[in-house]
Each structure stands twice: as C-alpha cells, then as structure tokens.
Symmetry: C2
C-alpha cells in the first residue's frame, strides 16, 4: 500500500467515525417507530462513499498549516452528507434505479410501499420520500459543518464560501438539466456544465474550504491554487465520471452499464463525439442516446461511435493535460510539503479511478 | 383597520423588504442568462405569502423583551424562504398543479420545457427543476437566518432550535406521506400528523425562535408558552387548513376546490368523518377520496358526508377549544403586554383565515 492510499484510508476512518457520531446525535429525534425507515435509509446512503471530498478538504487544511484537530474531520465529513443528498435527489431527477449497487432511494421506498400493500401511487411515495430524505441530509450537512467544534473564527471565515458552494451546486445542477433538455450541447457548454455541476463542488470548493478554515482568510495564493489545481482536477474528475458512465464496469461502479447513455446525458464525451461524427455516426447517436429502453447492443453501438470518432481518446488526453497542469500549479504553491505530496496523489486517484 | 391588522401589515412590509434585499445579494450569482428562469421563479414563489410565520417570530421576540432591531426582520423573514421551499417540494410530492392561483413550480418548468420544444420528458424536467428550486430556497433560508445581523449570542442561543426545526419538518412531512399511504388513519394519528407536519413549524417553532433570540436562553416559561399556546394554535391552524382544503373558496385559497379530497389527504377532518360514518357514508369516502379525476359532483358528495357525520362541526369545535386554551395560556405568560395583545390577535387570524 502506498503512503497516499494509507492516508486516504485513515481519512476515511475518521470521516466514517464523525458521520456515525453525528447520526447518533440525531437518533433521539427518531424515537417514533414510524421514522425508523427514514433514519436507516439515511445511514445506508451515507455509507460507502469514496470520501474524496473530505480528503480534499483535509489536505487543504493541512496545506495551509492546519494541525491535528478533530473538528476538521467533522467539518470535512459534513461534505459527504451533502454529496449523499445530491445523489439521492439526482436519482429522482434522472429516474435512476440503482446507486452504488443498491436500489436508489426512491426505488427503495417505492418497494417498501409495494411490499406493505399501501394505498396510492408507490412511485409518488418513493419519490416524495427521497426528496425529503435528500432534504434531511442537506440540512444535516449544514448543521454538521457548523457544529464541527473548529474555532469560531475559522468557521466564520469559511462560512460565506460554504453558503456560496450550496447556491452554486443547485445552479450547476439546474444548468445540467437545462443542457440535457436543450439537447444540442456544444463542446464548450458541456465543459461548462462539467465544471459547474461537479468539478467545483467535488474538488475546488472542498479544497478551498479546508484552506480557508486553516488560514482563517482568503489569500491570492489560495485562490490561484483553487483555480489552477482545484478546477482542473475537478473537470478531469468529471470527465472520468463521463467515461465511467459509458465504459465503466457495473461490478465496480455500482451502476448499470451505459447508464448515462440511457439517460441521454449530454457530456463532454458525447459533445466531442458529435463534433467529429460522420452523418451515419450522428444518426446512431441521435436515435439511441436517451432511449430509456437502450439494451446491451445499443450501448455497444454508442460505445463504438465514441471510440471511432476519437472522442474517448480525446477525453483521456484532456484528463491527462488537466492533471499535468494541476500538478504543475501544485508545485508552485506555497504549501506544506506533506500536503503537496498528498494532493498530487489525490489528483491522480480522483482522475484515474474505476468507480 | 384594527391595530393588529396594521401591525401585521407593517411586519409584512419589513419581511418583504428583507426578502428583496436578500435576493439582491444573491443576484450576482445569477449573471449567466441561463439561470434567469431559476431566479425569477424563486422571486415569484417568495412573493405573496401570508407572512404568519415571521409574525409569530416577531411577536415572540417582542414578548421576551426584544427591542427594535432590523436583524430580527431578516431572521423572521428567512422562515418564508423555508415555507416557500416546503410548498414547492410539497407540490411535487402531491403532484399539485396549482399554488396561490399560479401553476406550481414543477408545472411552470414543465410548461417552459413544452414551449421551448426541448428534448426528453417535460414532466421530469419540471419536477427536477422544482426539487432544485426548493433546495435553493432551503439553503437560502438557513443562510438568511444566520446572516441576519442579530447579535451572535442571540443566534447562537437559537441555532440548535433552528436545526431541530428543520429535522422535525422533514420528519413531519415524511409522517404525512406515510399516513396517506397507510390510508387507515385514526383520529389520533391524523392529529399527530397535523401537529408534526405543520402545527409545530408554522406556529410553535417560529414563536420559540423569536422568544429564544430575545432571551438568549430557553426558560421554563418559554417552553410552557410554546407548548400551551404555540402547539394549540398550531394544531388549530392546521385544522383550519384541513377545512379550507375541502370547503375553501378557490378564489380565496388559490387552490382548486376540494384539492385535498382529490389528493386523498388523510386529515383529522376525514378521520373524524369516518369515525362516525354509516356504512353507506364510509363507502362514499372509500370510493371517492383520493380519486385524481374527482369532479365537482364528487367533491359535493364528500362535503355532504363530512357535514352530515358532524365532522365539520366537530373540527370547528376543536379549533375553538384549542384557541380558547391557547389564549388562556397566553394570559398567564410573563410577557410584554403589547406582545400579548398581538399574539392573541394573531392566534385568531391564523385559525379563522379564509386563505
């Protein structure tokens, strides 16, 4: 095991502990037996994330000279509640059936409705409950962040960023919906969505929160590092996500093969394929992309187009260039050496992952 | 105009101003023209509420000796963002088409999708956007509350209550979904939902927040007033809502006649009707309640059952008793006289409203 893998493991352990402690604080509010299903769903959807966002926050904190402080693990772990909330709502919006190899939240509650033989529409019950569960995790994320136990001055310095991150996240997700609806995305518009929808809140903002929590202020070098390293790793992270959404192994991703194709996601990968597709290839994309009933053969046809247009290779090349540029910026930053090494390893892990 | 109506008007003016100022602070984040529709929907859904929750918060603050502080208007107004968020999500969950006489948020965005001739499912686009819009208002509500400008000690004293209110709200809405799904609600379970889903966060918690903001601590008398006045006015408020959902005038409520009947809401009113219905009356309720295609004649049939079983009169009687008990508790509380008069008027307004 490499040193960086060991450190990611140890961050994961601390994050898991902080999340368990937070849920234990909420447990007394769920003493009504009718609420048990809601709490246990919250627990299941919090479990099993990659904990990349807390890791970026952790190493941002260390990069700016932050020391050992249990409060930092709590603040960093709160980002996982936000992520779980976003995934649960995303699955409702995309009508996705599966998440991390389990039924998505709305499907889980739809099944509970069916098994109990309850009244009314099971779909509506499932979706409604998933919206509420996502809301619960969203408000808990803010509560956990604010009650981390970090110094009040640290939290006060970073709170405006945290507030802005949430507004930006909702706006980015809206831009994503709009992009799918408008359909004819260009390469540039798809890239903008990749940055706003995921890149910023997956990498740049967690990193920035950690840096500002430790520095208790924003500095020009922090902003430079967040843009030049954070945004570029963020976009590369999302490009990897796009590739996994088409070519990923269901056993590793926990999502059905070609799920993004079935949902008609207008990713950078697709925009790049369309930009250099022949009329015949364009026709294949137009007829198959977004077909909810797309089967294995359809997935294979679309994969072939994406490979033969050079889009897959182009996206891999972009990931490599963004990563190289990010690592170069990281080298220039006036940060702690241990954090520099860890952030370099984290950038590689985030952009070469298989899940 | 009575003094209390004048004071509610002046609170409304301050609340509207605070909401406008807050939105103006957010406006720079919406410079991308693609985001304009999201911001203007937020503005429309914030406009036009009754501002009852801010009024309970305002008079809680004054009751515990709080003075003139512009920050209080901001903190109180933040409750309207929370309410707008809950209504937007509620309408998605209930598949309601109309809110305050306008299309509900998901219908508004579904229509935008249709008019633009965009790709994919307009329903899915509308619901997805409504979920995000509700999320945006939910996070803004927390941000506005924390950045009111009130003394940090005041906010710190009330923040745990605010956090708990949000958890309780999501749990209460889940219990409501569960109650509708399980169908065979008893009088007691319907009453519990009335308290948890709406009563607490409409009256008790706004009042409690105002009291604790001013007192910068919780006291036994605060708790007593919140339970004996706040919860009872809250339940009576929800009972009035239940009655308006069946008997309300669409021109006043801004919702279609008998909307709650079409949605199959298992309210206290319905539970009370079923408790003393003849077999024939029970059959009418079972066959019509929750029928999405329920027409005017069906609404009239159900209204007749609710009146003839005595359920309407019983609910009116309950409202009166809860109100009387609340006013009695208010008389005993060690609070400022001006606030006592205003809270009495507010309790009457909240439980005798026609919209």
């Amino acid at each position: 095991m490499t040193a960086s893998a060991a450190s990611l493991d140890s961050i994961r352990t601390e994050v898991d502990r902080a999340l368990r402690d937070f849920l234990d604080r909420q447990r007394p509010h769920f003493s009504d037996p009718h609420l048990a299903a809601l709490l246990s769903a919250a627990e299941d959807f919090i479990a099993g994330g990659k904990r990349l966002r807390p890791a970026f926050c952790h190493w941002g904190w260390r990069a700016a000279g932050g020391g050992d402080d249990p409060g930092l693990h709590v603040a960093a772990a709160s980002l996982e509640l936000l992520q779980a909330s976003a995934l649960i709502h995303d699955d409702v919006m995309d009508a996705s059936d599966v998440r991390r190899g389990m039924p998505s939240a709305h499907r889980r509650f739809e099944r509970m409705h069916a098994e109990a033989g309850w009244h009314g529409s099971g779909r509506q019950f499932g979706e409604g409950t998933a919206v509420l569960l996502g809301n619960l995790l969203l408000v808990w994320s803010g509560e956990m962040w604010r009650t981390s136990g970090l110094a009040p001055e640290a939290i006060a310095a970073a709170q405006p960023l945290h507030d802005y991150m949430l507004t930006e996240l909702m706006c980015g997700q809206y831009l994503d919906l709009l992009e799918q609806a408008q359909g004819e995305s260009t390469f540039d518009s798809a890239l903008r969505v990749a940055l706003y929808k995921s890149g910023k809140y997956s990498v740049e903002q967690p990193l920035r929160l950690g840096l500002v929590l430790a520095a208790q202020a924003s500095h020009a070098w922090i902003d430079r590092l967040c843009v030049q390293y954070g945004q570029q790793v963020g976009i590369a992270f999302q490009l990897r996500d796009d590739i996994l959404g088409v070519f990923g192994d269901p056993a590793e991703t926990g999502k059905p093969a070609g799920d993004d194709l079935r949902e008609g996601k207008r990713t950078v990968l697709i925009a790049r394929a369309l930009a250099s597709a022949t009329p015949a290839q364009t026709a294949v994309v137009r007829s198959l992309l977004g077909d909810p009933a797309l089967d294995a053969e359809g997935v294979a046809q679309l994969r072939t187009v994406i490979e033969e247009t050079g889009a897959l290779a182009a996206c891999e090349g972009m990931i490599k260039r963004y990563l190289d540029d990010a690592l170069h910026a990281l080298d220039q930053a006036p940060i702690e050496e241990e954090a520099r090494t860890a952030l370099a390893a984290l950038a590689v892990a985030a952009t070469s992952r298989r899940t």
